[in-house]
Symmetry: C2
Subunit: 346 residues, 2 copies
DNA sequence: GAATTTTTGATGTACGTAAATCAGAAATTT
DNA sequence: AAATTTCTGATTTACGTACATCAAAAATTC
């Protein structure tokens, strides 16, 4: 049986009220007495029963997810995952809400964060935009005692409590390594399609990709990066032009979100290219199964949402987080280890 | 504010006691009344507050993990993970214990299960051995109302409530696909090292591997399976002999646990072979980083333990499980996406 | 040493549910 | 219609913690 506050009171030879004062940092306890109580806590190995405490406080945890607007399939999947999780998490005294803001709009993100703080949420998860306004908003959250985690795109150097997402440099390296090995000694250059180089994730992925490709035994030309702005039509045009202009093209790495345009261009082409992309969706899954795509790198939206909730709740309670458990892994999917289709793949 | 039992009583026009009888399936409620209460539950969207319920029941969940003895690194990692998790999970009213039994000993496993049932545990997680005794023991657990999940090695067709582990056929296929693609058009046969073909996992991995290899564009000879009994010395001898006898060997797939012997033989050889193995440990991590091993397929022990706990608790409470969340993924590691070393890698 | 302040104890209520008891009402049987 | 059985209500205690109040004790100040 785990010790309770009563056991501590008995062990320390004080009253329950005093134990309560020590446990909850209430004033009116002499240093000597406080030390006695703390010794009893330590010797009995007391751990507060969070469930009972929350019940007594009738505490709920309103958490806000701030996500970019637009038709980025990954973000929409993330949103769907939050909503789905929200249905089941009332049980755990958590109330989730989603706010969307224009993509890459630092001012809007900062405003949304301030609104959440004003509403008195107990935690914020946001896809960070790299701008001073956002740093400042995070600092304000910190002052207000509201924990903040960055989602998918980090903001290291800011006051954020935790980052939930993959290591994008490693993701790029992984793509480069697979591309190099899959191509072997087959000649021909490789094209890279990105959304925009102004986004930190994309920059990091490219960096890793180039590093891994240049470490391969046989050197291979990498064409200048195509920036498709994650727009299907523009991506289609860029890739179609590239396929026409570079007949000996050996592979394509899409490190951004615009897979739809890429796949459309490949369909018109008839492909024996090595194609590696990010994010497992219904479309990329189909292309993987049919052999158009060779590998998909993925971060699991469900895991990210659940991890964000666990971390924010732990931070709100002042508890520590299990770093190993909260690490988001980079999944490599080839057609042989595809998981059964989930509900969030369109 | 979420509705409580009091709200339901008011809504249904019955007393609190009656609501309690309906909620907990206690006898003494007429069909009409029961229907009224259930209607109220549905219309108010009542969900039982599990935390409060557990508090009231002062319920704890004693769970048993039954694992094979021996120096199988993966099993020992699993055990360490259970112990580590056990330290933190007292908070969640779960009490974990580990029982080890001789590997592949069906009678011992069945006896351990019966002992756990007799002790009144509220859930059993076991690495299943494929034998009638075990089927019978699972049935006895079922009759006693004790949920059972199989861990790592499944026993489909039995009464087990859930399987926690990877799809081993898909794992074999993945290994085969990677092997084929990494080798490209390089000639030479491939060797397969297993522990024992009498273990179901190993059989399934081989099956998947052979299927994927034969689906590759260029055919390639697969040497007869070497059975190293997961023993370092025997594995070393088998691989050393093979390397000597087959000078043009192109690759090795170890689908079992005996990586130590394999690595020792490779170290003495100086390798440009394509090597794919299972289970990320300190040794395989090092070999991956140094380039001796090309890919490691892994199932995360921490995830499996946490998943087993969640599933057993849900089953014990008669709740449903989130299948997508509980699916154990097959991780593909190459040197570029290695996670930081965890505590369970020796 | 008296007056004051600070510290401590005792006690009660609340959170949402479980579980038990006993009395009374309703339904069923005789 | 009476006796019996089956349901239902009212009430209480408990789980472990939070939080408030008031009185009593101890320490401090004057």
């Amino acid at each position: 049986m785990r010790p309770t506050v009563h056991d501590i009171a008995a062990e320390a030879g004080v009253s329950l009220a005093t134990v309560d004062r020590v446990l909850n940092d209430r004033p009116g306890v002499r240093g000597v007495t406080k030390a006695k109580v703390e010794a009893a806590i330590a010797s009995l190995g007391y751990v507060r029963d969070v469930a009972a405490a929350n019940l007594a406080k009738s505490r709920v945890y309103p958490l806000v997810f701030i996500l970019p607007e637009g038709d980025n399939p990954f973000m929409r999947g993330l949103e769907a995952e939050v909503r789905r999780t929200g249905l089941h998490s009332a049980i755990e005294r958590t109330r989730l809400s989603v706010v969307t803001v224009p993509a890459f709009d630092a001012a809007a993100l900062a405003a949304a964060m301030d609104a959440a703080i004003a509403e008195g949420v107990s935690g914020i998860a946001a896809v960070a935009v790299d701008a001073p306004e956002v740093f400042a908003a995070i600092d304000r959250a910190r002052e207000a005692g509201v924990p903040v985690v960055t989602l998918v795109s980090d903001l290291s150097g800011s006051g954020r409590d935790h980052f939930i997402g993959v290591d994008n440099i490693a993701a790029g390296r992984t793509a480069g390594s697979l591309m190099g090995r899959f191509l072997g000694n087959r000649p021909g250059p490789v094209a890279v399609l990105a959304g925009s180089m102004r986004v930190r994730d994309h920059g990091e992925r490219l960096e890793g990709f180039l590093a891994a490709m240049s470490a391969m035994p046989n050197t291979r030309a990498i064409l200048p990066v195509l920036e498709g702005q994650d727009d299907p039509d523009l991506s289609f045009k860029l890739i179609a032009n590239c396929l026409a202009a570079v007949p000996d093209l050996a592979g394509i790495y899409n490190l951004g979100a615009g897979n739809r345009g890429l796949l459309k261009a490949l369909a018109a082409h008839g492909t024996d290219l090595c194609v590696i992309v990010h994010e497992l969706t219904g479309e990329t899954r189909g292309a993987l199964e049919s052999g158009v795509i060779d590998a998909v790198l993925n971060q699991d939206a469900g895991h990210e949402v659940r991890s964000a909730i666990r971390v924010l709740r732990a931070k709100a309670d002042g508890l520590s987080v299990n770093a190993a458990q909260e690490r988001i892994r980079l999944d490599i999917f080839i057609k042989d280890n595809l998981p059964p289709a989930g509900p969030d793949e369109e």
